[in-house]
Amino acid sequence: MKLLLKNHLNLRTVLLWVLVLTGSIAYGQNGEALFNANCKACHSPGADKVVGPGLKDVEKRKDRAWLTKWIKNSSALIKSGDAYAVKIYEEYNKTAMPAQNLSDAEIGQILDYCKDFKPPVAKAPTAPTGDEKKDESFPWFLCIGVFVLIVLAAALNRVQKGLRKVMRDKQGIPQPVELKGVDAAWSWAKGNKKLLAICLLVLAVWGSVSGWYALSKIGITQGYKPEQPIKFSHKLHAGDNGIQCLYCHSGAEKSKHANIPSVNVCMNCHKYVKEGPVYGKEEISKIYAAVGWDGSAYTGEQKPVQWVRVHNLPDLAYFNHSQHVKVGKIECQKCHGDVEKMDVVKQDQPLTMGWCIECHRTTEVKMEGNGYYTQLHETLKKQYGESSKLTVDKIGGLECARCHY
């Protein structure tokens, strides 16, 4: 087998592939991507000011050579006493643009992108598509099947009845009196006591089982998806823009609470990002209202955002995020689902005690590299055997007072 592999994968082919791949990556880096990576934080490709000036028609203001100089090292240009450079510097509160480590070609691509940029036509606000998706599809097939069966049974019954009638007529037996309504059912029941008893029994069992399940679901809010005061989309922020969960939920590694970010965290970006792709300025303006930002300064008038809690544990259960995130190294998605794909966050997991325990029974403790566990790890390896999985329950993770005190 090894020999075979060697024959096929020689060094040359590997090198060739590497070249092809990197080449395609370089080719794929267009102006937009470069702009988003390097410029977007401070500039808009359109006309409006963010931190620095908008880059619409920038090449009409200055030529590409000057711009390349400026982008590579604006301070030097200012120092050299270039009149336009000094003017820009003065205009933007004497904040120099940081030097960018870009090649001439890359700068060219960015400028091309700015030249061709057309502001998107403002879309009418639409509800996120995620809302419209039905979580559970209605069992149409089953219904149609049952309906067909009922129709079939009724037809057969009718045929049977007709045939009987014909037979009686032929044999000259008088037709029995037709009973109607309740009387008919009663007489049928008298004739089919055993069948009725079995049916009733089945019904009773089904009733109690489904009743039991219904009762056990009381208070479980899996799938809870409340409307929030700001139509914040995790899909956009965590998914499309790839912002780390911990950037906003900074408590998850430090505290029992992951913490909903305070509005000043939103302002880190939204001081500059003034328009969203779906709702335009409407939702972002709610952040400004909460933090008291009038577009250029803080007014001091603050109004906290009243978010609706999605994940609620009862007071009797103590849950600590940092234990799970920092020590247990559990992914956020394990309990919260694929939040980065949700426009509106919903409760993904049942959050019941059984669910907690199930996980504690199957999840291995991250003992490697943690000084707290070193000695315990040795002890437990002896106790349970080298190859055994050291799950949370083996270090007391099912004991009542780990969560209830």
Binding site: G219, S262, V263, A290, Y405
Partner: protein, 1029 residues
């Protein structure tokens, strides 16, 4: 003719329809049928039963629908302060300094709310712990009865109006040269003193009168006469080998109880093979906390103290070759000779502390201490104590001046003379004659209610302040919460009224301290550093030579002329919980059982068992105590160990305007204080008469007195211990087929490969050194605060339903033992009857803190039908409240009686308006601990929330927890470090080392429940001869 009105034309016409309807009370048709979907024509008309059926269904449906979880909102900060992380506590250094007690503390805050007070371990004064009153002070912050805005003549006003009116009035008084008086409790804050000086500069007729409810005028004046310094000395009793207390409760209530208790315990600990400890002899009238810890105790009447001091002086003086004085005491001569011998033998290592407020007695005590060389080694007049500065004569003059119309303005700060002054009546009369009266009280207390203006001060947890409790030792106070109400610091008010350029006290105090920055740091750095650490020491004076100039002869002759008080002497004392009564509205303190009597929510008349017999009085009988023209009716408490002919009543009770919890609890004994020889005297001759009032039930948490011959608290003497470290603590052995064995070695679960339990990770436990426990009760309050323990009120305590997770059992020694019962001709039953009676003469007192013992063979766990209480692999007995169904089998089966049942939903029941009912008080709750509901058991969890959080911190930092890093609330707050918490699996931990000592034993070892909590034998430093003397 009488007018007649018709309802309408129908009535006038008397139509048949009208007549029919007139007799039908409910004329309107009730659409029941329609509502139920039944056709009106249907023959089955709905009946009342149908209606109820539908109603029942409706209710059931509605309640099922109500199972929906309510919508919960989450409001994050708009701008989160950088140093606050919701869910993680922040600690700030601060200082408790209420003019009575002092402690340098750390305040634990969660989400901006102070929830717990902890000792500041950087302090040189109270790094070991805090007192019960300091622990409880966090609840006073959330007191529902605090003043919520400024008040003028009973009406709420704004600060600006108050300032305008007070300033105008002060200006007018100033223009007319009227006298302005500020009456205040002792102030040791340098910047507050500066504020007062600034105020005096603006209003030159101002004079500050220092008045403390419990006065130390006698000792201050005696020091002025003896050494030329009107100061309270500081003591270093950890350096003393012999400590003699005369009527002085120095570890319970005196100048700085926590500091002194820590010093006291320091050289009474027998750690690591140490076989020496100090000897403590107490001469006192009632049984104090200090007296109950003494190795030897001599009971005397309060009036005999003077002559005893004279005798002792003469005996020591004759040894020292100094001249003696006239007078003395013949009754206790033999004992005093022995005592003098012992003191002289330990010259340089012996100290006398006297609690009397008599100048003459304190002068003689100074004389004795000088002869014993105590000033060089133990007593320090240079690093003197600033906590007590009251001047009784100045206060008496103030009241006279007020009544004489010579005071134009009175400003009351941090004191409550209308309640605490012995001459409260004159004070109240006098205040009416003052044209401007302002109180800085935190609430409308007895004095504030009489003042025209209330300018409410902030609670110390909302304030900036500094303190200089001892000369050169500083401590700082910073706010740990936004002001809850519209209050303002008194200093800020004074600054505003004196027109100071700096109106904010923060700026004032910061400027003051920045100006004192040492050369090594910038002013700002220095200020930040002292606020962060909370303590600073500088310029502690070097000792100057003592030059005793007091006249002992004069003092002795003054004592000789003292009238011998009557047959019955009434002694007024201070309780460890309530103190002088300024925190009387604090339910934690009210429900803290008195260390000695174990009674809470009341004061009472303590009488000796002998007096009870001769006057045929029983506990709960209501008596009338008269001193001069003053009298009080109070129930009797029979207190062993109190001197014959003495009765004792606690101060600090009977508040009228303390608040909902403190009003009308007990009776006010302050009016019984007499004013003798320029000082308040806390005893007087009195009368005791039985009344016909119904018996009064005192709420006591412990009603039995002795150990009934069982070795619950094991004891020995130092001499025995030196010979054999296991003295008093022989192994408990029980019979087995293999011969006698220790119960711990018999284990049906143990196998050859697995002896005992599997404790792979931790094995938590507590060790309690009974030689260090002084019984003060600080741990009880600390536990209440940490674990959201409910206060249940007097009624429920009477039903033995108090909820405390830790209690301190107090036992007296008994004269009858199983051994001497035969010689006393006692039968089996009468023997046990006699054994329950404490020693008549002078019982020894034992204190034993008892919390859940976290038994490894727990009897409670096996009887729980729903497995709500189980054992953890860390050695803890766990309690899952939401699993508990309240059968109470566990409590029945607990040999230590430490389980508590929630008889009510204390958090939502208006009958318990103490610590959880009002919104404001709920702010004190620890968010990491569940508030228990009705019908479930609870008990000590060994502060599992602290254990879990300590483990988590260690895990996050990839290390094992360091010994001492995790601590329980009780162990952390104990002033004497009597409680040690730790991990038995860590062989080098303090608790593992302690466990191996020979004094270690388990409570009720013979029942073999294998507790995780162990105790250590109490060792007395006395020989049996002294005991008999």
């Amino acid at each position: 003719m009488e007018k007649k009105y018709w309802k309408g034309i129908e009535e006038l016409n008397q139509t048949p329809e009208f007549l029919k309807q007139r007799n039908n009370e409910f004329q309107e048709h009730l659409p029941i049928e329609e509502a139920l979907g039944i056709k009106a024509s249907s023959p089955t008309e709905s009946t009342r039963r149908d209606f109820l059926k539908f109603l029942g269904f409706g209710v059931a449906a509605a309640s099922l629908a109500a199972c929906e979880t309510p919508i919960r909102k989450s409001l994050p900060y708009v701008v989160k302060p950088e140093d606050i992380m919701p869910g993680v506590p922040n600690y700030y250094a601060s200082t408790f300094n209420d003019g009575h007690d002092y402690a340098s503390v750390l305040v634990k805050t969660r989400e901006g709310r102070p929830i717990k007070i902890e000792p500041n371990d950087l302090s040189t004064l109270n790094s070991t712990g805090t007192s019960a009153r300091v622990q409880a002070s966090v609840l006073s912050l959330y007191d529902n009865n605090r003043a919520k805005n400024p008040v003028a003549n009973g009406n709420s006003i704004s600060w600006s109006t108050l300032d305008k009116e007070v300033k105008a009035k002060l200006a007018e008084i100033n223009a007319n040269n009227g006298n302005i008086r500020i009456v205040t409790a002792s102030i040791n804050s340098p910047s507050t003193l500066k504020v007062l000086a600034d105020f005096k500069a603006a209003y030159p007729t101002t004079e500050v009168v220092t008045y403390d409810a419990i006065s130390f005028n006698g000792i201050l004046k005696a020091n002025e006469l003896s050494f030329g310094k009107r100061v309270m000395p500081s003591y270093n009793i950890d350096k003393a080998k012999v400590i003699v207390g005369i009527g002085c409760d120095f570890i319970g209530n005196w100048i700085a109880p926590v500091t002194l208790a820590a010093q006291y315990a320091k050289n009474r600990k027998l750690k690591g093979g140490n076989k020496s400890m100090s000897r403590h002899i107490q001469i006192e009238s009632t049984l104090t906390l200090t007296g109950s810890n003494a190795d030897d105790r001599i009971r005397v009447k309060p009036s005999e103290q003077g002559s005893i001091v004279v005798s002792l002086y003469n005996k020591v003086a004759s040894k020292a070759g100094a001249s003696t004085v006239t007078g003395g005491n013949a009754t206790y001569d033999a004992m005093l000779t022995k005592l003098a011998d012992e003191l002289w033998a330990n010259k340089g290592n012996a100290v006398l502390m006297c609690g009397s407020n008599s100048v003459a007695e304190q002068t003689l005590v100074n004389g004795i201490n000088v002869l014993l060389g105590a000033y060089d080694a133990i007593i320090d007049l240079d690093k003197h104590c600033n906590l007590k500065k009251s001047n009784d004569e100045a206060f008496a003059k103030l009241v006279t001046d007020m009544n004489g119309g010579n005071v134009a303005a009175l400003i009351v700060y941090n004191c409550n003379p209308a309640y605490t002054a012995p001459n409260a009546k004159e004070f109240i009369e006098g205040i009416k004659k003052v044209s401007l009266s302002v109180s800085f009280a935190e609430k409308q207390d007895e004095t504030a209610a009489l003042c025209k203006y209330l300018a409410p001060d902030c609670h110390y947890l909302e304030s900036w302040n500094d303190a200089e409790p001892f000369n050169g030792v500083y401590s700082f106070c910073q706010p740990t919460i936004q002001k809850l109400y519209k209050t303002r610091q008194a200093q800020e008010s004074l600054l505003a009224w004196s027109g100071a350029p700096i109106a904010s006290f923060h700026d004032y105090i910061a400027t003051y301290w920045q100006g004192l920055a040492p050369a090594t740091s910038t002013p700002n750095q220095f200020w930040t550093q002292i606020i962060q650490t909370g303590v600073y020491e500088s310029g502690i004076p070097t000792k100057t030579t003592i030059n005793f100039v007091g006249s002992v002869a004069d003092a002795a002759s003054k004592i000789a002329t003292q009238k011998s008080a009557g047959e019955i002497e009434v002694l007024l004392y201070e309780k460890t919980g309530i103190g002088n009564g300024n925190q009387a509205n604090n339910p934690w303190l009210q429900e803290l059982p008195d260390p000695i009597s174990k009674v809470c929510w009341d004061n009472y008349v303590c009488i000796s068992p002998k007096m009870a017999a001769t006057k045929s009085l029983a506990q709960g009988n209501v008596v009338k105590v008269s001193v001069g023209s003053q009298s009080l009716t109070l129930p009797v408490y029979v207190q062993p160990g109190i001197a014959e002919g003495t009765i004792a009543i606690a101060l600090g009770y009977g508040r009228q305007k303390a608040g909902d919890a403190g009003n009308n609890v007990g009776k006010n004994a302050y009016p019984l204080i007499s004013f003798v020889d320029g000082s308040m005297q806390y005893y007087a001759a009195g009368k005791l008469d039985k009344t016909t009032e119904d018996n009064y039930v005192l709420a006591a948490t412990q009603t039995h007195h002795t150990m009934m011959g069982r070795a619950i608290v094991k004891e020995t003497t130092l001499a025995e211990y030196a010979k054999n470290p296991k003295a008093g603590n022989p192994d408990v052995l029980i019979e087995t087929p293999e011969g006698k064995q220790r119960p711990k070695d018999i284990d049906i679960w143990a196998t050859t490969t697995q002896p005992g339990f599997d404790r792979p990770n931790h094995s938590w436990g507590l060790g309690i050194d009974l030689n260090a426990c002084i019984g003060c009760g600080a741990c009880v309050v600390a536990c209440n605060a940490e674990n959201n323990v409910a206060v249940v009120g007097k009624d429920e305590v009477n039903r033995a339903r108090e909820m405390h997770w830790i209690r301190i059992d107090r036992y007296y020694s008994s004269d009858t033992t199983k051994e001497n019962a035969a010689s006393k001709n006692l039968g089996a039953l009468s023997m046990y009857g006699e054994m329950e009676k404490p020693s008549v003469e002078n019982p020894k007192v034992f204190f034993q803190p008892v919390m859940c013992q976290h038994c490894n063979h727990a009897p409670c766990e096996t009887v729980c039908p729903v497995v709500a209480t189980t054992h953890s692999s860390d050695g803890l007995n766990m309690m899952a409240y939401n699993r508990c169904v309240g059968t109470r089998y566990c409590a029945n089966n607990c040999p230590y009686k430490v389980r508590r049942f929630n008889w009510f939903n204390y958090a939502e029941n208006a009958k318990f308006p103490y610590t959880q009912y009002h919104q404001s008080e709920r702010m004190v709750l620890n968010p990491d601990v569940t508030v228990r509901s009705r019908g479930v058991m609870e008990k000590c969890s060994m502060c599992i929330q602290r254990i879990q959080s300590g483990k988590l911190t260690a895990k996050k930092e990839s290390r094992r927890p360091v010994d001492g890093e995790i601590n329980t609330a009780c162990a952390q707050t104990c002033p004497t470090n009597a409680i040690t918490f730790g991990d038995f699996t860590d062989k080098d931990s303090q608790i593992s080392v302690m466990f191996k000592e020979d004094r270690t034993y388990w409570l009720l070892e013979e029942i073999n429940v294998q507790p995780s909590v162990f105790y250590q034998t109490k060792v007395w430093n006395h020989d049996n001869k002294t005991e008999k003397a």
